[in-house]
Protein backbone atom coordinates (compact mmCIF):
# COMPACT_ATOMS: atom_id res chain seq x y z
CA UNK A 1 0.00 0.00 0.00
CA UNK A 2 2.90 2.34 0.46
CA UNK A 3 4.40 1.71 -2.96
CA UNK A 4 4.98 4.94 -4.77
CA UNK A 5 3.44 5.11 -8.18
CA UNK A 6 4.09 7.83 -10.69
CA UNK A 7 1.12 9.23 -12.51
CA UNK A 8 1.71 11.86 -15.11
CA UNK A 9 0.24 13.44 -18.20
CA UNK A 10 2.36 14.42 -21.20
CA UNK A 11 1.09 16.82 -23.81
CA UNK A 12 -2.43 15.71 -23.04
CA UNK A 13 -5.12 17.01 -25.36
CA UNK A 14 -8.70 16.11 -24.53
CA UNK A 15 -12.02 17.01 -26.01
CA UNK A 16 -15.49 15.91 -26.97
CA UNK A 17 -16.83 15.78 -30.50
CA UNK A 18 -16.37 19.38 -31.52
CA UNK A 19 -14.71 21.05 -28.56
CA UNK A 20 -11.21 20.81 -27.22
CA UNK A 21 -11.31 21.04 -23.46
CA UNK A 22 -7.68 20.46 -22.50
CA UNK A 23 -4.80 21.40 -24.75
CA UNK A 24 -1.29 19.95 -24.47
CA UNK A 25 -1.26 19.67 -20.72
CA UNK A 26 1.76 18.44 -18.80
CA UNK A 27 1.07 17.33 -15.27
CA UNK A 28 2.70 15.25 -12.57
CA UNK A 29 0.85 13.89 -9.55
CA UNK A 30 3.16 13.72 -6.52
CA UNK A 31 3.06 10.17 -5.14
CA UNK A 32 1.86 9.58 -1.60
CA UNK A 33 0.37 13.07 -1.34
CA UNK A 34 -3.05 14.69 -1.51
CA UNK A 35 -3.50 16.72 -4.70
CA UNK A 36 -6.47 18.99 -5.31
CA UNK A 37 -7.51 20.28 -8.73
CA UNK A 38 -9.41 23.54 -8.85
CA UNK A 39 -10.70 25.76 -11.61
CA UNK A 40 -13.76 27.46 -12.98
CA UNK A 41 -16.81 25.58 -14.19
CA UNK A 42 -16.29 23.66 -17.42
CA UNK A 43 -12.55 24.24 -17.38
CA UNK A 44 -11.89 20.56 -17.76
CA UNK A 45 -11.30 19.32 -14.21
CA UNK A 46 -13.63 16.35 -14.50
CA UNK A 47 -12.47 15.68 -18.04
CA UNK A 48 -8.90 15.53 -16.86
CA UNK A 49 -9.70 13.16 -14.04
CA UNK A 50 -11.69 10.89 -16.29
CA UNK A 51 -8.89 10.69 -18.77
CA UNK A 52 -6.38 9.87 -16.06
CA UNK A 53 -8.47 6.90 -15.09
CA UNK A 54 -8.94 5.60 -18.63
CA UNK A 55 -12.58 6.64 -18.99
CA UNK A 56 -11.82 9.08 -21.77
CA UNK A 57 -9.34 8.43 -24.56
CA UNK A 58 -7.00 11.35 -25.30
CA UNK A 59 -6.97 13.09 -28.63
CA UNK A 60 -3.30 13.75 -28.27
CA UNK A 61 -0.58 13.09 -25.75
CA UNK A 62 -0.78 10.38 -23.12
CA UNK A 63 -1.28 9.53 -19.48
CA UNK A 64 1.41 7.39 -17.92
CA UNK A 65 1.10 5.26 -14.83
CA UNK A 66 4.49 3.95 -13.79
CA UNK A 67 5.66 4.56 -17.32
CA UNK A 68 2.87 2.56 -18.92
CA UNK A 69 0.20 4.24 -21.00
CA UNK A 70 -2.99 4.10 -19.00
CA UNK A 71 -5.14 3.45 -22.04
CA UNK A 72 -3.15 0.36 -22.93
CA UNK A 73 -3.44 -1.26 -19.52
CA UNK A 74 -6.21 -3.88 -19.29
CA UNK A 75 -9.07 -2.34 -17.30
CA UNK A 76 -9.12 -4.86 -14.49
CA UNK A 77 -5.41 -4.58 -13.83
CA UNK A 78 -5.65 -0.81 -13.81
CA UNK A 79 -8.58 -0.99 -11.42
CA UNK A 80 -6.41 -2.84 -8.92
CA UNK A 81 -4.00 0.06 -8.76
CA UNK A 82 -6.08 3.13 -9.48
CA UNK A 83 -9.58 3.75 -8.17
CA UNK A 84 -12.03 6.39 -9.31
CA UNK A 85 -15.14 7.74 -7.68
CA UNK A 86 -17.04 9.56 -10.43
CA UNK A 87 -19.47 12.43 -9.99
CA UNK A 88 -23.05 11.43 -9.21
CA UNK A 89 -22.67 7.68 -9.04
CA UNK A 90 -25.86 5.71 -9.49
CA UNK A 91 -27.10 3.39 -6.79
CA UNK A 92 -29.39 0.72 -8.17
CA UNK A 93 -32.69 0.49 -6.35
CA UNK A 94 -32.73 -1.61 -3.24
CA UNK A 95 -29.07 -2.49 -3.08
CA UNK A 96 -27.73 -2.82 0.45
CA UNK A 97 -24.67 -1.04 1.76
CA UNK A 98 -22.80 -4.27 2.32
CA UNK A 99 -23.41 -5.44 -1.20
CA UNK A 100 -22.48 -2.14 -2.78
CA UNK A 101 -19.21 -1.96 -0.90
CA UNK A 102 -18.59 -5.55 -1.90
CA UNK A 103 -18.79 -4.57 -5.57
CA UNK A 104 -15.54 -2.75 -5.05
CA UNK A 105 -13.81 -6.12 -4.90
CA UNK A 106 -14.62 -6.91 -8.53
CA UNK A 107 -11.17 -6.02 -9.94
CA UNK A 108 -9.65 -8.62 -7.68
CA UNK A 109 -11.87 -11.41 -8.93
CA UNK A 110 -11.01 -13.35 -12.02
CA UNK A 111 -13.52 -15.19 -14.12
CA UNK A 112 -13.91 -18.13 -11.83
CA UNK A 113 -12.65 -16.91 -8.50
CA UNK A 114 -14.83 -17.16 -5.47
CA UNK A 115 -15.20 -14.82 -2.59
CA UNK A 116 -12.31 -15.14 -0.15
CA UNK A 117 -11.61 -14.13 3.42
CA UNK A 118 -9.43 -11.34 2.11
CA UNK A 119 -12.43 -9.83 0.36
CA UNK A 120 -14.53 -9.89 3.49
CA UNK A 121 -11.73 -8.22 5.39
CA UNK A 122 -11.35 -5.51 2.77
CA UNK A 123 -15.05 -4.77 2.90
CA UNK A 124 -15.05 -4.73 6.69
CA UNK A 125 -12.02 -2.43 6.83
CA UNK A 126 -13.69 -0.06 4.39
CA UNK A 127 -16.89 -0.03 6.42
CA UNK A 128 -15.00 0.66 9.63
CA UNK A 129 -12.91 3.42 8.10
CA UNK A 130 -15.98 5.24 6.86
CA UNK A 131 -17.93 4.43 10.01
CA UNK A 132 -20.73 2.84 8.05
CA UNK A 133 -20.49 -0.63 9.58
CA UNK A 134 -23.82 -0.32 11.36
CA UNK A 135 -25.49 0.58 8.06
CA UNK A 136 -24.32 -2.59 6.36
CA UNK A 137 -27.76 -4.14 5.90
CA UNK A 138 -29.64 -0.97 5.04
CA UNK A 139 -30.61 -0.17 1.45
CA UNK A 140 -28.48 2.62 0.05
CA UNK A 141 -31.37 4.67 -1.23
CA UNK A 142 -32.72 5.07 2.29
CA UNK A 143 -29.60 6.85 3.51
CA UNK A 144 -29.00 10.55 3.79
CA UNK A 145 -26.73 12.36 1.34
CA UNK A 146 -23.77 12.35 3.71
CA UNK A 147 -24.16 8.70 4.59
CA UNK A 148 -24.51 7.76 0.95
CA UNK A 149 -21.33 9.54 0.00
CA UNK A 150 -19.48 7.74 2.76
CA UNK A 151 -20.77 4.44 1.44
CA UNK A 152 -19.50 5.23 -2.06
CA UNK A 153 -16.13 6.08 -0.58
CA UNK A 154 -16.20 2.79 1.27
CA UNK A 155 -16.76 1.00 -2.01
CA UNK A 156 -13.76 2.68 -3.52
CA UNK A 157 -11.75 1.94 -0.39
CA UNK A 158 -12.64 -1.73 -0.61
CA UNK A 159 -10.90 -1.73 -3.95
CA UNK A 160 -7.65 -1.28 -2.02
CA UNK A 161 -5.84 0.75 -4.62
CA UNK A 162 -2.65 2.72 -4.17
CA UNK A 163 -4.07 5.70 -6.04
CA UNK A 164 -7.49 7.19 -5.52
CA UNK A 165 -9.15 9.74 -7.80
CA UNK A 166 -12.34 11.46 -6.63
CA UNK A 167 -14.45 13.75 -8.80
CA UNK A 168 -16.14 16.38 -6.64
CA UNK A 169 -16.77 14.12 -3.66
CA UNK A 170 -18.06 16.96 -1.53
CA UNK A 171 -20.17 19.03 -3.88
CA UNK A 172 -23.66 18.24 -2.61
CA UNK A 173 -22.82 17.72 1.02
CA UNK A 174 -23.36 20.16 3.83
CA UNK A 175 -20.32 21.57 5.51
CA UNK A 176 -20.00 19.06 8.35
CA UNK A 177 -20.14 16.15 5.93
CA UNK A 178 -17.66 17.82 3.65
CA UNK A 179 -15.17 18.06 6.50
CA UNK A 180 -15.89 14.47 7.48
CA UNK A 181 -15.11 13.19 4.00
CA UNK A 182 -11.95 15.25 3.71
CA UNK A 183 -10.75 14.14 7.15
CA UNK A 184 -11.36 10.55 6.15
CA UNK A 185 -9.29 10.97 2.99
CA UNK A 186 -6.53 12.57 5.03
CA UNK A 187 -6.53 9.60 7.42
CA UNK A 188 -6.20 7.29 4.46
CA UNK A 189 -3.30 9.23 3.07
CA UNK A 190 -1.46 9.45 6.39
CA UNK A 191 -1.94 5.85 7.47
CA UNK A 192 -1.59 4.00 4.17
CA UNK A 193 0.24 6.46 1.97
CA UNK A 194 -2.53 6.37 -0.67
CA UNK A 195 -2.01 8.95 -3.40
CA UNK A 196 -5.18 11.00 -3.56
CA UNK A 197 -6.30 13.32 -6.34
CA UNK A 198 -9.53 15.18 -5.93
CA UNK A 199 -11.47 17.80 -7.77
CA UNK A 200 -12.86 20.43 -5.42
CA UNK A 201 -15.00 23.47 -5.86
CA UNK A 202 -14.14 25.11 -2.60
CA UNK A 203 -10.78 26.86 -2.91
CA UNK A 204 -10.30 27.20 0.80
CA UNK A 205 -10.96 23.57 1.60
CA UNK A 206 -8.60 22.64 -1.21
CA UNK A 207 -5.89 24.85 0.21
CA UNK A 208 -6.43 23.47 3.69
CA UNK A 209 -6.35 19.78 2.93
CA UNK A 210 -4.13 19.43 -0.12
CA UNK A 211 -0.38 19.07 -0.17
CA UNK A 212 -0.29 19.97 -3.84
CA UNK A 213 -2.67 22.35 -5.57
CA UNK A 214 -3.31 22.47 -9.31
CA UNK A 215 -5.24 25.30 -10.92
CA UNK A 216 -6.65 24.84 -14.41
CA UNK A 217 -7.74 27.61 -16.73
CA UNK A 218 -8.46 27.95 -20.46
CA UNK A 219 -7.72 24.34 -21.21
CA UNK A 220 -4.29 24.42 -19.63
CA UNK A 221 -2.31 24.45 -16.44
CA UNK A 222 -2.31 27.82 -14.75
CA UNK A 223 -0.32 26.93 -11.68
CA UNK A 224 0.81 23.88 -9.73
CA UNK A 225 2.58 23.62 -6.42
CA UNK A 226 2.10 23.85 -2.66
CA UNK A 227 -1.04 25.81 -1.71
CA UNK A 228 0.77 28.85 -0.30
CA UNK A 229 2.56 29.29 -3.61
CA UNK A 230 -0.44 28.69 -5.82
CA UNK A 231 -3.27 30.42 -3.99
CA UNK A 232 -2.63 34.10 -4.62
CA UNK A 233 -4.93 36.96 -5.55
CA UNK A 234 -3.35 36.95 -9.00
CA UNK A 235 -4.31 33.31 -9.52
CA UNK A 236 -7.84 33.87 -8.28
CA UNK A 237 -8.24 36.79 -10.67
CA UNK A 238 -6.84 34.89 -13.62
CA UNK A 239 -8.73 31.64 -13.08
CA UNK A 240 -12.02 32.86 -11.62
CA UNK A 241 -12.16 36.48 -12.64
CA UNK A 242 -12.62 37.48 -9.02
CA UNK A 243 -10.98 40.12 -6.86
CA UNK A 244 -9.73 38.67 -3.61
CA UNK A 245 -7.40 38.89 -0.72
CA UNK A 246 -5.38 35.98 0.64
CA UNK A 247 -4.45 35.75 4.31
CA UNK A 248 -3.01 32.96 6.37
CA UNK A 249 -5.60 30.85 8.15
CA UNK A 250 -4.70 30.88 11.85
CA UNK A 251 -6.12 27.41 12.45
CA UNK A 252 -4.23 25.52 9.77
CA UNK A 253 -1.40 27.77 8.67
CA UNK A 254 -2.62 27.45 5.10
CA UNK A 255 -3.72 30.28 2.79
CA UNK A 256 -7.31 31.48 3.11
CA UNK A 257 -8.97 33.27 0.20
CA UNK A 258 -11.33 36.14 0.99
CA UNK A 259 -13.49 37.01 -2.02
CA UNK A 260 -14.12 40.72 -2.67
CA UNK A 261 -17.38 41.47 -4.39
CA UNK A 262 -18.54 44.90 -5.45
CA UNK A 263 -19.76 45.67 -1.96
CA UNK A 264 -16.59 44.86 -0.12
CA UNK A 265 -13.30 46.72 0.07
CA UNK A 266 -9.92 45.20 0.90
CA UNK A 267 -8.87 45.47 4.54
CA UNK A 268 -6.95 48.65 5.21
CA UNK A 269 -3.22 48.03 5.16
CA UNK A 270 -1.64 48.52 8.52
Amino acid sequence: MTTDHSLLAEGLTLGYKDRTVIDSLDLAVPPGRITAIVGANACGKSTLLRSMSRLLAPRGGRVLLDGEQVHRIPPKRLARTLGLLPQSPVAPEGITVGDLVGRGRHPHHGVLSRWRREDDEAVAAALDATRTADLADRPVDELSGGQRQRVWIAMVLAQRTDLLLLDEPTTFLDVSHQIEVLDLLTDLNRSLGTTIVLVLHDLNLAARYADHLIALASGGLHAAGPPDQVLTPAMVQAVFGLRSEVITDPTSGRPLMLPLGRHHAPAPAD
Binding site: A40, N41, F240, G241, L242
Partner: protein, 346 residues
Protein backbone atom coordinates in the same frame (compact mmCIF):
# COMPACT_ATOMS: atom_id res chain seq x y z
CA UNK B 1 -17.05 32.58 -14.68
CA UNK B 2 -14.95 34.74 -17.00
CA UNK B 3 -15.36 38.44 -16.33
CA UNK B 4 -17.59 40.67 -18.49
CA UNK B 5 -19.71 38.35 -20.58
CA UNK B 6 -20.49 39.84 -23.99
CA UNK B 7 -23.75 41.86 -24.09
CA UNK B 8 -26.83 39.91 -25.19
CA UNK B 9 -27.62 40.21 -28.90
CA UNK B 10 -30.74 42.26 -29.60
CA UNK B 11 -33.84 40.12 -30.04
CA UNK B 12 -34.53 40.84 -33.68
CA UNK B 13 -35.48 37.23 -34.31
CA UNK B 14 -38.71 37.48 -32.42
CA UNK B 15 -39.79 40.72 -33.97
CA UNK B 16 -39.09 39.33 -37.38
CA UNK B 17 -41.28 36.31 -36.99
CA UNK B 18 -43.90 38.46 -35.28
CA UNK B 19 -44.57 40.14 -38.56
CA UNK B 20 -44.59 36.76 -40.24
CA UNK B 21 -47.23 35.07 -38.19
CA UNK B 22 -50.36 36.33 -39.90
CA UNK B 23 -48.70 35.28 -43.15
CA UNK B 24 -48.28 31.77 -41.81
CA UNK B 25 -51.92 31.74 -40.84
CA UNK B 26 -52.94 32.71 -44.34
CA UNK B 27 -50.54 30.21 -45.83
CA UNK B 28 -51.92 27.42 -43.70
CA UNK B 29 -55.48 28.38 -44.59
CA UNK B 30 -54.58 28.47 -48.26
CA UNK B 31 -52.89 25.10 -48.09
CA UNK B 32 -55.90 23.66 -46.34
CA UNK B 33 -58.31 24.88 -48.97
CA UNK B 34 -56.14 23.54 -51.76
CA UNK B 35 -55.85 20.19 -50.04
CA UNK B 36 -59.57 20.05 -49.39
CA UNK B 37 -60.21 20.61 -53.04
CA UNK B 38 -57.65 17.97 -53.92
CA UNK B 39 -59.33 15.59 -51.52
CA UNK B 40 -62.56 15.89 -53.36
CA UNK B 41 -61.02 15.83 -56.79
CA UNK B 42 -58.57 13.01 -56.26
CA UNK B 43 -59.05 9.61 -54.76
CA UNK B 44 -58.63 5.93 -55.18
CA UNK B 45 -60.94 6.06 -58.13
CA UNK B 46 -60.00 8.24 -61.05
CA UNK B 47 -62.89 10.43 -62.05
CA UNK B 48 -63.28 12.87 -64.94
CA UNK B 49 -63.53 16.58 -64.22
CA UNK B 50 -67.18 16.69 -65.10
CA UNK B 51 -68.03 14.42 -62.19
CA UNK B 52 -66.75 17.01 -59.75
CA UNK B 53 -69.93 18.94 -60.19
CA UNK B 54 -71.57 16.33 -58.01
CA UNK B 55 -69.64 17.69 -55.08
CA UNK B 56 -71.21 21.05 -55.41
CA UNK B 57 -74.80 19.99 -55.69
CA UNK B 58 -74.73 18.66 -59.21
CA UNK B 59 -76.40 15.43 -60.36
CA UNK B 60 -75.39 12.19 -58.66
CA UNK B 61 -76.31 9.48 -61.08
CA UNK B 62 -73.15 7.66 -62.00
CA UNK B 63 -70.51 5.79 -60.06
CA UNK B 64 -68.12 8.63 -60.63
CA UNK B 65 -70.47 11.21 -59.24
CA UNK B 66 -71.32 8.96 -56.33
CA UNK B 67 -67.66 8.51 -55.53
CA UNK B 68 -67.13 12.25 -55.56
CA UNK B 69 -70.19 12.87 -53.44
CA UNK B 70 -68.87 10.48 -50.84
CA UNK B 71 -65.64 12.38 -50.71
CA UNK B 72 -67.21 15.55 -49.42
CA UNK B 73 -68.17 14.36 -45.95
CA UNK B 74 -64.94 12.41 -45.84
CA UNK B 75 -62.96 15.57 -46.51
CA UNK B 76 -64.99 17.43 -43.97
CA UNK B 77 -64.26 14.77 -41.38
CA UNK B 78 -60.55 14.82 -42.18
CA UNK B 79 -60.44 18.59 -41.80
CA UNK B 80 -62.34 18.62 -38.54
CA UNK B 81 -60.59 15.65 -37.00
CA UNK B 82 -57.18 16.93 -38.10
CA UNK B 83 -57.86 20.32 -36.58
CA UNK B 84 -59.03 18.70 -33.36
CA UNK B 85 -55.95 16.50 -33.12
CA UNK B 86 -53.54 19.29 -33.98
CA UNK B 87 -55.08 21.60 -31.43
CA UNK B 88 -55.29 18.90 -28.80
CA UNK B 89 -51.63 18.01 -29.28
CA UNK B 90 -50.51 21.61 -28.97
CA UNK B 91 -52.49 22.04 -25.76
CA UNK B 92 -51.18 18.80 -24.29
CA UNK B 93 -47.61 19.81 -25.01
CA UNK B 94 -48.27 23.08 -23.28
CA UNK B 95 -49.98 21.57 -20.26
CA UNK B 96 -47.33 18.92 -19.67
CA UNK B 97 -44.41 21.16 -20.77
CA UNK B 98 -43.33 18.14 -22.66
CA UNK B 99 -42.14 18.14 -26.27
CA UNK B 100 -43.15 14.53 -26.73
CA UNK B 101 -46.72 14.81 -25.58
CA UNK B 102 -49.13 13.48 -28.15
CA UNK B 103 -52.39 11.73 -27.49
CA UNK B 104 -51.06 8.61 -29.18
CA UNK B 105 -47.80 8.38 -27.28
CA UNK B 106 -49.50 8.99 -23.98
CA UNK B 107 -51.81 6.09 -24.53
CA UNK B 108 -54.87 8.28 -24.56
CA UNK B 109 -55.94 6.81 -27.88
CA UNK B 110 -55.78 3.29 -26.52
CA UNK B 111 -57.85 4.33 -23.53
CA UNK B 112 -60.49 5.79 -25.79
CA UNK B 113 -60.42 2.60 -27.87
CA UNK B 114 -60.82 0.39 -24.85
CA UNK B 115 -63.80 2.40 -23.67
CA UNK B 116 -65.49 2.19 -27.05
CA UNK B 117 -64.73 -1.51 -27.45
CA UNK B 118 -66.05 -2.25 -23.98
CA UNK B 119 -69.12 -0.23 -24.79
CA UNK B 120 -69.77 -2.16 -27.97
CA UNK B 121 -69.06 -5.53 -26.40
CA UNK B 122 -70.88 -5.23 -23.11
CA UNK B 123 -73.26 -2.33 -23.33
CA UNK B 124 -74.45 -2.63 -26.87
CA UNK B 125 -73.32 0.84 -27.88
CA UNK B 126 -74.13 1.66 -31.46
CA UNK B 127 -74.78 5.37 -31.84
CA UNK B 128 -72.06 7.83 -32.73
CA UNK B 129 -72.97 9.98 -29.74
CA UNK B 130 -72.56 6.95 -27.52
CA UNK B 131 -69.15 6.30 -29.01
CA UNK B 132 -68.14 9.87 -28.43
CA UNK B 133 -69.07 9.87 -24.78
CA UNK B 134 -67.36 6.54 -24.25
CA UNK B 135 -64.25 7.69 -26.06
CA UNK B 136 -64.08 10.92 -24.09
CA UNK B 137 -64.48 9.07 -20.82
CA UNK B 138 -61.80 6.59 -21.80
CA UNK B 139 -59.47 9.31 -23.03
CA UNK B 140 -59.93 11.36 -19.89
CA UNK B 141 -59.42 8.50 -17.51
CA UNK B 142 -56.29 7.37 -19.31
CA UNK B 143 -54.86 10.87 -19.52
CA UNK B 144 -55.37 11.38 -15.80
CA UNK B 145 -53.87 8.03 -15.02
CA UNK B 146 -50.81 8.40 -17.24
CA UNK B 147 -50.13 11.89 -16.00
CA UNK B 148 -50.54 10.88 -12.38
CA UNK B 149 -48.23 7.90 -12.73
CA UNK B 150 -45.71 9.81 -14.78
CA UNK B 151 -45.43 12.65 -12.29
CA UNK B 152 -44.68 10.56 -9.23
CA UNK B 153 -41.25 10.81 -7.82
CA UNK B 154 -38.27 12.96 -8.54
CA UNK B 155 -38.58 15.61 -11.23
CA UNK B 156 -42.29 15.44 -11.78
CA UNK B 157 -43.60 14.54 -15.21
CA UNK B 158 -40.37 14.45 -17.18
CA UNK B 159 -40.73 13.55 -20.86
CA UNK B 160 -39.16 10.15 -20.34
CA UNK B 161 -41.36 9.18 -17.43
CA UNK B 162 -44.45 10.38 -19.20
CA UNK B 163 -43.60 8.58 -22.42
CA UNK B 164 -42.85 5.38 -20.57
CA UNK B 165 -45.97 5.62 -18.46
CA UNK B 166 -47.92 6.21 -21.67
CA UNK B 167 -46.31 3.35 -23.54
CA UNK B 168 -46.70 0.95 -20.66
CA UNK B 169 -50.32 1.95 -20.07
CA UNK B 170 -50.99 1.66 -23.78
CA UNK B 171 -49.56 -1.85 -23.80
CA UNK B 172 -51.60 -2.77 -20.77
CA UNK B 173 -54.83 -1.40 -22.20
CA UNK B 174 -54.14 -3.07 -25.55
CA UNK B 175 -54.03 -6.40 -23.71
CA UNK B 176 -57.40 -5.67 -22.24
CA UNK B 177 -58.74 -4.83 -25.67
CA UNK B 178 -57.47 -8.19 -26.93
CA UNK B 179 -59.04 -9.97 -24.03
CA UNK B 180 -62.38 -8.37 -24.78
CA UNK B 181 -62.31 -8.72 -28.54
CA UNK B 182 -60.73 -12.11 -29.14
CA UNK B 183 -63.56 -14.33 -27.97
CA UNK B 184 -66.22 -12.12 -29.55
CA UNK B 185 -66.31 -12.96 -33.21
CA UNK B 186 -69.39 -10.87 -33.71
CA UNK B 187 -67.79 -7.55 -33.03
CA UNK B 188 -64.22 -8.34 -34.02
CA UNK B 189 -64.50 -7.18 -37.60
CA UNK B 190 -66.18 -3.90 -36.86
CA UNK B 191 -63.92 -3.08 -34.00
CA UNK B 192 -60.83 -3.78 -35.99
CA UNK B 193 -61.69 -1.58 -38.88
CA UNK B 194 -62.49 1.25 -36.50
CA UNK B 195 -59.23 0.71 -34.69
CA UNK B 196 -56.95 1.29 -37.60
CA UNK B 197 -57.88 4.94 -37.85
CA UNK B 198 -59.73 6.04 -40.89
CA UNK B 199 -61.85 8.82 -42.17
CA UNK B 200 -63.28 6.62 -44.84
CA UNK B 201 -66.51 6.02 -43.01
CA UNK B 202 -67.24 9.71 -42.76
CA UNK B 203 -70.84 10.66 -43.37
CA UNK B 204 -72.66 13.90 -42.75
CA UNK B 205 -74.54 12.21 -39.98
CA UNK B 206 -71.50 11.08 -38.03
CA UNK B 207 -69.87 14.44 -38.48
CA UNK B 208 -72.88 16.32 -37.23
CA UNK B 209 -73.17 14.13 -34.14
CA UNK B 210 -69.62 14.87 -33.17
CA UNK B 211 -69.66 18.54 -34.09
CA UNK B 212 -70.97 19.95 -30.77
CA UNK B 213 -68.17 18.21 -28.90
CA UNK B 214 -65.58 19.48 -31.31
CA UNK B 215 -66.88 23.01 -31.02
CA UNK B 216 -66.95 22.91 -27.24
CA UNK B 217 -63.43 21.51 -27.07
CA UNK B 218 -62.10 24.07 -29.51
CA UNK B 219 -63.57 26.98 -27.60
CA UNK B 220 -62.15 25.76 -24.31
CA UNK B 221 -58.73 25.22 -25.84
CA UNK B 222 -58.53 28.58 -27.57
CA UNK B 223 -59.54 30.32 -24.36
CA UNK B 224 -56.67 28.58 -22.55
CA UNK B 225 -54.02 30.12 -24.75
CA UNK B 226 -52.97 32.77 -22.29
CA UNK B 227 -52.92 30.34 -19.39
CA UNK B 228 -50.69 28.02 -21.38
CA UNK B 229 -48.20 30.79 -22.01
CA UNK B 230 -47.90 31.32 -18.28
CA UNK B 231 -47.75 27.62 -17.47
CA UNK B 232 -44.80 27.32 -19.83
CA UNK B 233 -42.71 29.23 -17.32
CA UNK B 234 -43.15 26.62 -14.62
CA UNK B 235 -45.80 26.27 -11.95
CA UNK B 236 -44.19 28.49 -9.40
CA UNK B 237 -43.34 31.34 -11.73
CA UNK B 238 -46.78 31.16 -13.26
CA UNK B 239 -48.44 31.41 -9.87
CA UNK B 240 -46.18 34.31 -9.03
CA UNK B 241 -47.42 36.07 -12.15
CA UNK B 242 -51.01 35.63 -11.04
CA UNK B 243 -52.10 32.54 -12.93
CA UNK B 244 -54.43 30.05 -11.29
CA UNK B 245 -52.22 27.10 -12.09
CA UNK B 246 -54.44 24.17 -11.19
CA UNK B 247 -57.55 25.68 -12.77
CA UNK B 248 -55.76 26.67 -15.97
CA UNK B 249 -54.21 23.25 -16.30
CA UNK B 250 -57.50 21.48 -15.64
CA UNK B 251 -59.41 23.60 -18.13
CA UNK B 252 -56.83 23.18 -20.88
CA UNK B 253 -56.62 19.44 -20.28
CA UNK B 254 -60.39 19.16 -20.39
CA UNK B 255 -60.46 20.88 -23.77
CA UNK B 256 -57.71 18.67 -25.13
CA UNK B 257 -59.30 15.46 -23.90
CA UNK B 258 -62.72 16.38 -25.30
CA UNK B 259 -61.20 17.14 -28.70
CA UNK B 260 -59.13 13.99 -28.75
CA UNK B 261 -61.95 11.82 -27.56
CA UNK B 262 -64.44 13.24 -30.03
CA UNK B 263 -62.09 12.85 -32.96
CA UNK B 264 -61.10 9.33 -31.95
CA UNK B 265 -64.69 8.30 -31.50
CA UNK B 266 -65.42 8.81 -35.17
CA UNK B 267 -62.14 8.02 -36.85
CA UNK B 268 -60.52 5.60 -34.46
CA UNK B 269 -57.08 6.31 -33.03
CA UNK B 270 -54.77 8.39 -35.22
CA UNK B 271 -51.37 9.10 -33.80
CA UNK B 272 -48.68 11.69 -34.33
CA UNK B 273 -50.74 14.51 -35.77
CA UNK B 274 -50.77 16.20 -32.41
CA UNK B 275 -47.02 15.73 -32.13
CA UNK B 276 -45.76 16.80 -35.51
CA UNK B 277 -47.85 19.87 -36.22
CA UNK B 278 -47.22 22.00 -33.11
CA UNK B 279 -43.50 21.33 -33.32
CA UNK B 280 -43.36 22.31 -36.96
CA UNK B 281 -45.13 25.58 -36.31
CA UNK B 282 -43.08 26.34 -33.26
CA UNK B 283 -39.99 26.04 -35.40
CA UNK B 284 -41.39 27.99 -38.31
CA UNK B 285 -43.36 30.73 -36.66
CA UNK B 286 -42.49 30.79 -32.99
CA UNK B 287 -44.63 32.87 -30.75
CA UNK B 288 -46.99 32.26 -27.94
CA UNK B 289 -49.99 30.02 -27.78
CA UNK B 290 -52.32 32.65 -29.13
CA UNK B 291 -50.78 32.00 -32.52
CA UNK B 292 -49.67 28.44 -32.01
CA UNK B 293 -53.12 27.07 -31.25
CA UNK B 294 -54.93 28.27 -34.37
CA UNK B 295 -51.91 27.44 -36.49
CA UNK B 296 -51.83 23.94 -35.06
CA UNK B 297 -55.50 23.50 -35.77
CA UNK B 298 -55.13 24.58 -39.38
CA UNK B 299 -51.92 22.64 -39.77
CA UNK B 300 -53.46 19.51 -38.30
CA UNK B 301 -56.40 19.77 -40.66
CA UNK B 302 -54.05 20.20 -43.60
CA UNK B 303 -51.85 17.31 -42.52
CA UNK B 304 -54.67 14.86 -42.03
CA UNK B 305 -56.31 15.81 -45.31
CA UNK B 306 -52.98 15.48 -47.10
CA UNK B 307 -52.38 12.10 -45.44
CA UNK B 308 -55.80 10.94 -46.53
CA UNK B 309 -55.23 12.03 -50.13
CA UNK B 310 -51.81 10.40 -50.12
CA UNK B 311 -53.30 7.23 -48.75
CA UNK B 312 -55.87 7.15 -51.48
CA UNK B 313 -53.41 7.79 -54.28
CA UNK B 314 -50.60 5.58 -53.11
CA UNK B 315 -52.46 2.32 -53.20
CA UNK B 316 -54.96 2.70 -56.05
CA UNK B 317 -57.52 1.27 -56.40
CA UNK B 318 -57.38 0.41 -52.71
CA UNK B 319 -56.25 2.80 -50.04
CA UNK B 320 -53.85 3.07 -47.16
CA UNK B 321 -55.56 4.16 -44.00
CA UNK B 322 -54.72 7.60 -42.85
CA UNK B 323 -53.59 6.39 -39.42
CA UNK B 324 -50.76 4.49 -41.03
CA UNK B 325 -49.66 7.40 -43.18
CA UNK B 326 -49.48 9.68 -40.17
CA UNK B 327 -47.55 7.07 -38.24
CA UNK B 328 -45.11 6.59 -41.09
CA UNK B 329 -44.52 10.34 -41.26
CA UNK B 330 -44.77 11.00 -37.58
CA UNK B 331 -42.52 8.33 -36.14
CA UNK B 332 -39.38 9.44 -37.99
CA UNK B 333 -40.18 12.99 -36.96
CA UNK B 334 -40.52 11.86 -33.36
CA UNK B 335 -37.18 10.11 -33.54
CA UNK B 336 -35.63 13.19 -35.09
CA UNK B 337 -36.79 15.29 -32.15
CA UNK B 338 -35.40 12.79 -29.71
CA UNK B 339 -32.05 12.80 -31.45
CA UNK B 340 -31.82 16.54 -31.73
CA UNK B 341 -32.34 17.33 -28.12
CA UNK B 342 -29.64 16.73 -25.58
CA UNK B 343 -30.61 13.83 -23.45
CA UNK B 344 -30.37 15.81 -20.26
CA UNK B 345 -32.86 18.34 -21.53
CA UNK B 346 -35.35 15.58 -22.08
Amino acid sequence: MTPAAPPAAPDTGRRRTGRGRPLWLLAALGALLALAFASVAVGSREVPWSALAAAFGGPVDGFDQAAVAKRVPRTLLAVLAGAALGLSGAVMQGVTRNPLADPGILGVNTGASLAVVTGIAFFGLTSATGFVWAAITGAGATALFVYAVGSLGRGGATPLKLALAGAATSAALASFISAVVLPRNDIAGGVRSWQVGGVGGGTFESVSQVLPFLLAGTVICLLSARGLDLLALGDELAAGLGARVAAARAAASLGAVVLCGAATAVTGPIAFVGLVVPHAFRLLAGGGHRWLLPLSALGGAALLTAADVAGRIAARPGEVDVGIVTALIGAPFFIHIVRRRKVRAL
